[in-house]
Symmetry: C2
Subunit: 999 residues, 2 copies
């Protein structure tokens, strides 16, 4: 532990720490940069194959984060400490945790977590995967496996560790505000930097001249170009950095439209790429001189010798643990799902008999346990088919060269070939006796492939093995019957040691068996089984909630997420200043859930408590410290929300509208302002079919005008999920009527499966208008979703549209809505894309109905006839479902089917000649049909149709019994076919019964 | 001593060192700055009364110093380590020296020197006085007492210490080139920074776009203005820094003319001032919060109690040593001179009898020794005059209130008043017996004033005493008869301890007497007496020169300077690569003398040896290290000269001409190109009077055209003293004829008193033309020198002009030259300024003649008549001097004087009427005058005149004896006056004999 935790000593201690670990200590850059990554010591040096380990402070400038010195920890300038390790030393997380100890953080007294957070810079063509490191809920470090920079794939990748020094100093010094951080014994951070925070905030938000900065941007661009033309990498890069900073200033001044942003990013990205390429070329021309200098941060472990596993029993228990750095929430699920599928299949392939298989995992480990696995494969006899017997032997019965070649290939003497009769003739065969191999041996070969075959949405490389995985694998444990299976993967060799919770000692624990393994993990509080973990968390959280005086109700989403974020869950109660309750509840909830994965607590009356439940990783030691840290975090975040909202409240909601013009909806479809105006128009059109009139119509039109305005508010820009919510809040604060405000919020509904639809017609109208406009427009410009690509969330739009119509039970034809929208979009009415769009929407309706449990055939039957009216179709599906479940359905459907089957291949409309009616059964059918037709109003109701049809069944059956439809008399035949066709045709617009099972 | 001297460890060690001493550790600035001073942690924080101690690294960008990575230690980016101590801790030099030890420099193994070097930034309105710190001749640190910043007087002043880290690392690691500095164990400085040096050099010198940078400058200015209008100190300051860097880039691209430079500096200075004022206001508004936090670097010593000196003897020896930080060369001289004058006067004032006085000193101490000073003042009786006796007593003889008041005032009873007769009447007097006070007591009061009364050209304040002195005084030793005189000055109290050579131990040495003091210093090798030191150095240097095979010839200037730079001189021989001898010798000499104060060595044939003699401070220990360090320095400097010359040689000399247009001579008088063209024209005009024709005239005209071209060459811009020298060198390299080249060099001659005049007529013509143009022009625009102000060096121009004419013995009237020049300058011919200018030149001629030892009256007599022709006047002075020294001069002068005296008040020209000549003496005089006139050609030669005149003396004397000049007959009188006036008038144009002594 260091002597002092003063701010400057933290830095000196980090310098010493990383210098001792072989890092070159570098200096902050002489140009304003948003992060240490932009220092050429990172941005350029991560390129190319040469090793590079470096550490430095970087005062980082983020105009957007300026808060006039009023936020406890958000600053226009914050001090980063940046470390680059290239190549990966094999244990960067551990070294990082040691560095925390070196500056005075005892990780055992805190909740330290690696929470998925991936990084990308569109301006620099750079990205990486990694984590935020949380110290008691506070993000103190960004830890990234840097994969690409300047558009170049990084090989080897670099480990990038970026400490946020203020956020480390505050808990370390137990102060609540950046101003109070002790820089030295006698000076605080506020002493030396508060003035800068105040002044630069004012400059960035209010003073910086837009035109002049635009001019600066152009000049820097031009200088970058001319430097680059001469091959001057560093001078060109300096200019790019200046562009980037100028861009940030312009952005903070609100002077960058969406399109402009893309153009500017594009240019910067292009320059970054060219600079990066030039840098690599330069190093290449020098022969990559540092490649010669090896400077490993840590010696590579020598690969273990192969000790063949020799199980002495018939069956053994098998245990595989893949130790990883913290897996992202969804990647953990994905890995478990794949292992659950693939392990049994693999064992079958390997001919290993086995007992029960369990696949479990935590963020740091994927575990497969197989009970009683056969210690060897079964022996087997293989009969391999060779050439046809006729070609295998010559007329003299001597083997031909074909036979000889075959025998040689199979490794048996030609005399041993046997002729066998096969299905398709007579062949020579080789009969091979295969002895089973030991399970250890086959597994040793198979396991790398098993692990390597797990696929993730995004994967990284991290070392020279160039293996890809969700996150680096750091240890492998593989035991069969207590014997290690020393397979290799990604530069690791499996052994018999697991690891406990991070920072618990000893770091590695040898285990001899599955049972022992389970005990070890249990002793550490680790719950391996995700389901059990989920339940444990739920129980703990509910208990805390009850104690705090709230209702024990949890968000499932957060519960799922938290389950995958901890190994050893421990819930704790946190509080915040009740003053913040004056902010919209949705804001508080969003902040707590989205940023911090806290469970929020409501009282019985539905109002929020000024509390939250967090779940740490670890035990209940130092829980006050953990809770306190988390409380500081949420305070800063609420403060920030407060800042945004205060800024936004300086304007009326309507005043935001003009800025919507700077927000592109889609290039060909114009800005959000354009869209907003189209919605308004559409709402007006929809009024009549929706029965919207008078005051309610006024409300709808006003709300339509304002519905997108909050998208340019600072709070929504910061947290998009608050769209609508903020719109409502700002509307009320701007003096809009409550109904208008509600409609603004509700027009986004339903936002997800299970969400409520708009509760007023006004909101409904806007909701429909918004969705019709999006769908018709996007399909119209050729942007239909394809495969898994759905960047404009059209699925959600369509589902919402359908759901709302169903919920309102509103018979509205989506064709009509699409045509209305098309008019506003100046599309041709007959545009084929509209048909595609309609079918897409009907497809979503189908999904909804199927998800509700309706039979596929029932849904298909109804949608075929009336899919374009979701509400009616839904009613019809319900009705038809009742019918198909009736006992007499086996009489009804065949009767109808008889009518259809005989006529459905006839592509002509048959004609009727009443005079030719001769047979009574004919006459009866005719009468019956006329009665049916008369009683049946085509409402699309299966009930209506089937009730009527059911009465006709005896007549129909009699008709078929008595009458030969395909009479030789053409007039008779024509009459009979006509009767059947008409009867069948009565179901048109209701359902296509031919799609039903049993038809 | 530290574990590692790797570059990054040097930095870490400095951080630790200064942090331990209470400095706040700060970070480099996020903007390109030329030095750590520009970081707001210095520039702003030194303002106002609050304490501030800070230390930080500053990667400093100086485009001008870019060398494509080819110079061993000159870099476009170098790393500074900056320390600010405010207020002065009392021992900053000592703490600094400790810091060197902390990074591995054992000061005892090197020659460490504080060499005067003052700092100012015209762009920032900042200046300070201090030193370069030399480590074996290499400047490794700038040490400054910062006096003003942003136009604000700094109160308290700050100590600013700026380390040049590369220059420290190189000797410390014993490497010869920046590229080889070990940054870590495995990476060199070149590894990480060479690419940057190469690329940025190219960018700054060749690529940076001038127009775009000019535009940037304007934008930054405008942003600074608008930030400042809103009172945003730091954002405004950021923009000023950007202006400054952009200015530097433009300057390096050669795109800033002299006038433009002044304008730009002016603007930046103005902004800096306003930012500084705003900063102070801001702190003031906060109530200068840090004033409350005292953080003294060192506790102030408690003032000593006053132990009254009690000498037991009649006389005692007195010793005063004023310990200072290193005094500048001229300040040491000035202080000694003043002390030599003032000490005797002071002792007389104090009525202290004394013996011999010695005043001596070294850069670190001023010493006064007085032998046998009376241990007490003599007693004395004072008679003090009171009111007149008449007013002192009333008619009854009783004392009046006036008498009583007087008696009371003098502290004697009224009865003791005595009435005494004075010169102006009878007065009451008080007779006061004054007992002499001990010398120690009076000196204690007088010494502070003695020291405080020493004046320097530039002084500084350094601590809260606000005393000013050349450099801080750091200790005081005062002994009278072995007793300490504990007087106080500038926060110090005198005691009985001296200090030896820096870094010798013990730091303080108590001495009890003058003898002991002398012994102590002698033991340390310190030579107190400047004259003795000078001789010792001369002897040592000559010996080294001889050993090296050179002629033992020293530059007096350097010798004088070196004498004042060391306390304990030790000469050593240094060498450099003989390759450098291909550079012009003047360049090598200038570099060695100006930058390093080395003695250069010439062989008997006049050529330079590749060696030099340096003089270190200290003994002969580790002399190889010292010599080696010095050799590295000179290598880097020669390398640099080589760089400049190579760059310059890429163009012909003539090609430099257009750029002269960017160099302003004087705003109203145009650019140097304008001036150059005027010189060319004037040379053409001067050809005839100078007898310049044919080939020689061609040479003169060609040389005139090119004579100023080298002023824009890089070498001359770097080292102005090489003007002309480089012009010659570049001319020869451009294929100019040798005569032309010589004339280019020589037109600057004579450059100083005693310098040779041009040796060819061509050079002479240019030399004269240049000076006539300057003088006429500057006087013409009202810029005559006044008092000590002579910014355009017009004194030197006039002296050179006069000297050249004298040396060439060329009868040329300066009036003619001035008129010629005036024509070229489009001045009115009758411009009065020309008269002033002529008189100014004649004034210089007078000085020259007086300095040559001619009698003042003789010079005055001649100059009154023919000052405008210096050559003739000089001849005349010589001749006249011979005449006045003749034995018969007592006859000659009176005879002439008689003629003059009687006529000189007559403002009329008398007329002559030959018919009225009546008296023979009259007739004789007439005849004699006619003869004299006939024999005398008015060449201005006193010889000529006096030889002739001498013959007339008997006639003149006879005339006066016989004739009454002021006859009553007006015609007679007119005739006689005429004769005398004419005779006297013959001397016109030769000398005004009335100015001679004895006239």
């Amino acid at each position: 532990m260091p002597e002092s935790t003063n701010f400057q000593d933290i830095i000196i201690n980090l310098q010493n720490f990383w210098a001792r670990r072989g890092c070159l200590i570098w200096q902050p850059y002489y140009s304003q940069v948003g992060a240490g990554t932009y220092n050429p010591a990172t941005f350029l040096r991560v390129l190319g194959p040469e090793p590079w380990n470096v550490a430095y402070v970087e005062p980082s400038i983020r105009p957007d984060d300026a808060r006039y010195g009023e936020n406890p920890n958000r600053l226009q300038q914050h001090y980063q400490y940046q470390v680059i390790l290239k190549p990966d030393p094999g244990n960067p997380q551990e070294v990082y945790l040691q560095s925390l100890e070196a500056i005075g953080i005892d990780p055992r007294r805190h909740d330290i977590r690696f929470v998925e957070d991936n990084w990308q810079s569109p301006a620099l063509g750079a990205w990486g995967l990694g984590w935020e490191v949380w110290l008691d809920g506070q993000e103190i470090t960004q830890f990234t496996y840097f994969q690409q920079s300047g558009g170049q794939v990084l090989d080897p990748p670099s480990v990038e560790i970026t400490y946020g020094l203020e956020r480390i100093a505050m808990p370390l010094q137990r102060v609540r505000n950046f101003r109070d951080i002790r820089w030295t014994e006698s000076r605080t951070y506020g002493d030396v930097n508060l003035q800068g925070e105040q002044e630069h905030s004012k400059y960035y938000f209010e003073i910086a001249d837009i035109e002049r900065n635009q001019e600066l941007y152009k000049i820097y661009m031009a200088e970058a170009e001319s430097a680059l033309e001469k091959g001057l990498v560093l001078p060109a890069y300096d200019q790019i950095l200046k562009c980037s900073q100028t861009f940030n200033v312009l952005d903070t001044r609100g002077a960058v439209g969406v399109t402009e942003r893309q153009v500017m990013f594009g240019k910067m990205r292009d320059l970054s790429r060219r600079v990066s390429e030039a840098y690599i070329e330069e190093r290449k021309a020098l022969g990559f001189p540092w490649l010669a200098q090896t400077e490993p941060l840590k010696a590579e472990a020598a690969p273990k010798a192969f000790p063949a596993a020799k199980p002495s029993q018939k069956t053994v228990d098998f245990l595989l643990e893949i130790g990883t750095e913290e897996l992202p929430v969804f990647d953990l699920d994905a890995a478990l799902t794949q292992l659950r599928e693939r392990v049994p299949a693999l064992l079958d392939d390997l001919r290993l008999e086995h007992g029960n298989i369990s696949v479990m995992g935590t963020p740091r480990r994927l575990v497969v346990m197989v009970e009683k696995i056969a210690s060897r494969q079964e022996d087997r006899t293989l009969v391999v088919k060779g050439p046809p017997a006729a070609r295998a032997f010559d007329p003299q019965g001597k083997p031909t060269p074909a036979a000889e070649g075959f025998a040689r290939g199979k490794g048996i003497p030609v005399e041993k070939l046997e002729v066998r009769e096969m299905e398709d003739g007579s062949y020579v065969t080789a009969v091979i006796q295969e002895n089973g191999i030991s399970a250890a041996e086959v597994l040793q070969k198979a396991l790398p492939e098993l692990i390597g075959g797990i696929k993730f949405e995004k994967s990284i490389r991290w070392n020279s093995s160039n293996v890809v995985f969700s996150r680096p694998t750091r240890w492998l444990l593989a035991l069969a019957g207590g014997q290690v299976i020393p397979f290799e993967f990604a530069g690791l060799t499996a052994d018999g040691a697991t690891r406990g919770l991070r920072l618990n000692t000893p770091a590695q624990i040898e285990v001899g068996s599955t049972i022992q393994y389970r005990k070890v993990l249990e002793a550490q509080g680790i719950i391996l089984d995700p389901q059990a973990r989920r339940e444990a968390i739920e129980k703990q959280v509910k208990e805390v909630m009850r104690k705090a005086g709230g209702e024990p109700v949890l968000s499932d989403t957060i519960l799922d997420e938290v389950t995958n974020l901890v190994e050893a869950p421990q819930a704790f109660l946190g509080k915040f200043n009740p003053d913040f309750l004056r902010l919209p509840a949705e804001v508080l909830i969003s902040v707590m859930e989205k940023h911090q994965r806290y469970f929020t607590i409501r009282k019985a009356d539905g109002s929020l408590l000024p509390n939250f439940v967090g779940v740490r990783n670890g035990d209940d030691q130092f829980l006050e410290t953990v809770a306190d840290g988390n409380e500081q975090v949420i305070t800063a975040r609420f403060n920030d929300a407060d800042f945004f909202i205060k800024q936004d409240l300086q304007h009326k909601l309507e005043d935001f509208l003009p800025r919507l013009a700077t927000l592109t909806f889609q290039v060909k479809l114009g800005s959000m302002l354009d869209k907003s105006r189209r919605i308004e128009r559409l709402v007006n059109e929809l009024a009549e079919p929706l029965g919207l009139e008078g005051k309610e119509k006024e409300t709808a039109l006003r709300a339509a005008m304002l519905c997108k305005a909050d998208l340019v508010s600072k709070m929504v820009v910061e947290m998009t999920s608050l769209q609508g919510t903020m719109g409502r809040f700002y509307a009320l604060n701007s003096g809009e009527e409550e109904a208008v405000a509600d409609a603004i919020r509700d027009h986004y509904r339903p936002r997800f499966a299970g969400d409520a639809s708009p509760s007023t017609k006004a909101a409904l109208a806007i909701s429909l208008a918004d969705r019709f406009d999006s769908l018709a427009g996007l399909f119209g410009v050729g942007l239909a979703p394809s495969g898994t690509k759905d960047p404009y969330a059209q699925r959600r739009a369509a589902i919402g549209l359908v759901q709302a119509l169903i919920d309102w039970d509103l018979d509205f034809d989506i064709n009509r809505g699409l045509f209305m929208a098309a008019t506003g979009l100046a599309m041709l009415a007959g545009d084929e894309s509209l048909i595609g769009c309609r079918d897409f929407i009907i497809g979503r309706l189908q999904s909804i109905l199927l998800e509700q449990g309706y039979r596929y055939d029932v849904v298909a039957a109804v949608l075929a006839e009336q899919g374009s009216s979701p509400a009616r179709a839904t009613r019809a599906v319900k009705e038809l479902t009742e019918w198909v479940n009736r006992k007499d359905w086996q009489q009804i459907l065949p009767a109808y089917a008889r009518c259809v089957r005989i006529t459905r291949d006839q592509n002509v409309d048959h004609t009727f000649n009443p005079k030719a009616l001769e047979v009574p059964a004919e006459q009866d059918l005719y009468n019956s049909f006329e009665a049916l037709k008369a009683s049946f109003t085509t409402t699309g109701s299966p009930n209506n149709f089937l009730s009527a049809f059911k009465e006709q069944i005896p007549v129909i059956n009699n008709f078929f019994d008595k009458v030969m439809v395909m009479s030789d008399d053409p007039i008779q035949r024509e009459n009979r076919l006509y009767l059947l066709q008409q009867t069948a045709g009565l179901a048109a617009g209701t359902a296509d019964f031919s799609k039903l099972e049993g038809f």
